[in-house]
């Protein structure tokens, strides 16, 4: 009898591993793009996605599948915040050491350069719109940016977004509405 129980546990673990693999495969590219838009850095975006996948696999693989998505985006959001905080500290140190300022200026130019990734046949309109949205999002508050990315791009509903952002559903609605208003204002010229 214990042998059957052990076998069942092993089969459950294998099924769970397969389900987790499918989930991660389905989410990784979108998560990368969202991280990339938040951090505006290719390597950092890949790092936070990898960290988030590992954290989900280690800590939440046993949770019901329907919880994985908001949990994953909550982890991703926390990782992005950590990276942004570290970057601010790094930039603060660079300001204190004038000799490093030149490197910082070079890095900023590289970081602000257009993303070379993307297929050549991509419609210019879509590329242009997304580039403008990225710039507009960079100027928003972190909460507004998160609400827009998770609700509109990732398609999380209000409840899932609230879990991912660690706030109330009412806050999600407010941040999202303000993000839309800001985007309308910033993109208004281009849209007309």
């Amino acid at each position: 009898m214990p042998l059957i129980g052990g076998q069942q546990a092993r089969e459950t673990a294998v099924d769970q591993g397969r389900a987790l693999g499918r989930f991660l495969a389905g989410i990784e590219k979108r998560a990368y793009r969202i991280a990339r838009m938040s951090l505006r850095d290719h390597d950092e975006a890949l790092d936070v996605v990898q960290d988030s996948m590992i954290s989900l696999a280690q800590n939440y693989a046993g949770h019901p599948e329907e919880q994985w998505r908001p949990l994953f985006y909550r982890i991703l959001r926390n990782r992005i915040t950590d990276y942004q905080r570290r970057r601010r500290v790094r930039q603060g140190v660079i300001r204190w050491w004038p000799g490093l300022a030149e490197d910082d200026a070079t890095t900023s130019l590289v970081e602000s350069a257009p993303d070379p990734s993307g297929a050549p046949d991509e419609q210019l309109e879509g590329e242009e719109l997304l580039a403008r949205i990225e710039r507009a999002l960079a100027g928003m508050s972190g909460r507004q940016r998160e609400a827009f990315l998770l609700r509109n791009f990732e398609g999380l509903d209000v409840a899932q977004t609230a879990i991912a952002m660690g706030c109330s559903e009412g806050s999600v609605k407010t941040h999202y509405f303000r993000a839309l208003q800001a985007l309308q204002r910033l993109l208004g010229e281009w849209q007309t």
Partner: protein
């Protein structure tokens, strides 16, 4: 939600979906490797959790055995002859002495048994 907002949502979502679909091969490959690493970590973190139950199970088994032995001593046969006799018989059997010798000279063993009976009698 105004029509203008809905249009912005739709168009921006389409642009985002296109950018996801057109991710370059190197990035896709890096993401796939990251996924494999995450799954491997999940398998690895699953193993120690099972391993931690082994010593717990062993300790539980030892405790059960100790309780069984203790309660067995309390409720077993009363101290004295029967228990010791049983142990003696067990010793004889487990000692593996060669009992075939009795087949070699049965007449001698019959005489020895009679002589012992006479002495006792």
């Amino acid at each position: 939600m105004t029509e203008k907002n809905q249009d912005l949502e739709r168009r921006s979502r389409e642009a985002f979906d296109d950018s996801v679909a057109s991710l370059d091969g190197a990035t896709r490959s890096r993401l796939a490797r990251a996924r494999e690493l995450a799954l491997e970590e999940a398998r690895r973190s699953h193993r120690p959790r099972l391993a931690t139950w082994v010593p717990v199970g062993a300790a539980a088994a030892a405790a059960v055995m100790a309780i069984a032995l203790w309660s067995g001593r309390e409720t077993g046969p009363a101290p004295g002859e029967p228990a010791l006799a049983a142990l003696d018989e067990f010793d004889i059997v487990s000692a593996g002495d060669d009992l075939d010798m009795m087949d070699e000279d049965p007449a001698f063993y019959d005489w020895a048994a009679d002589a012992l009976a006479d002495d006792v009698g």
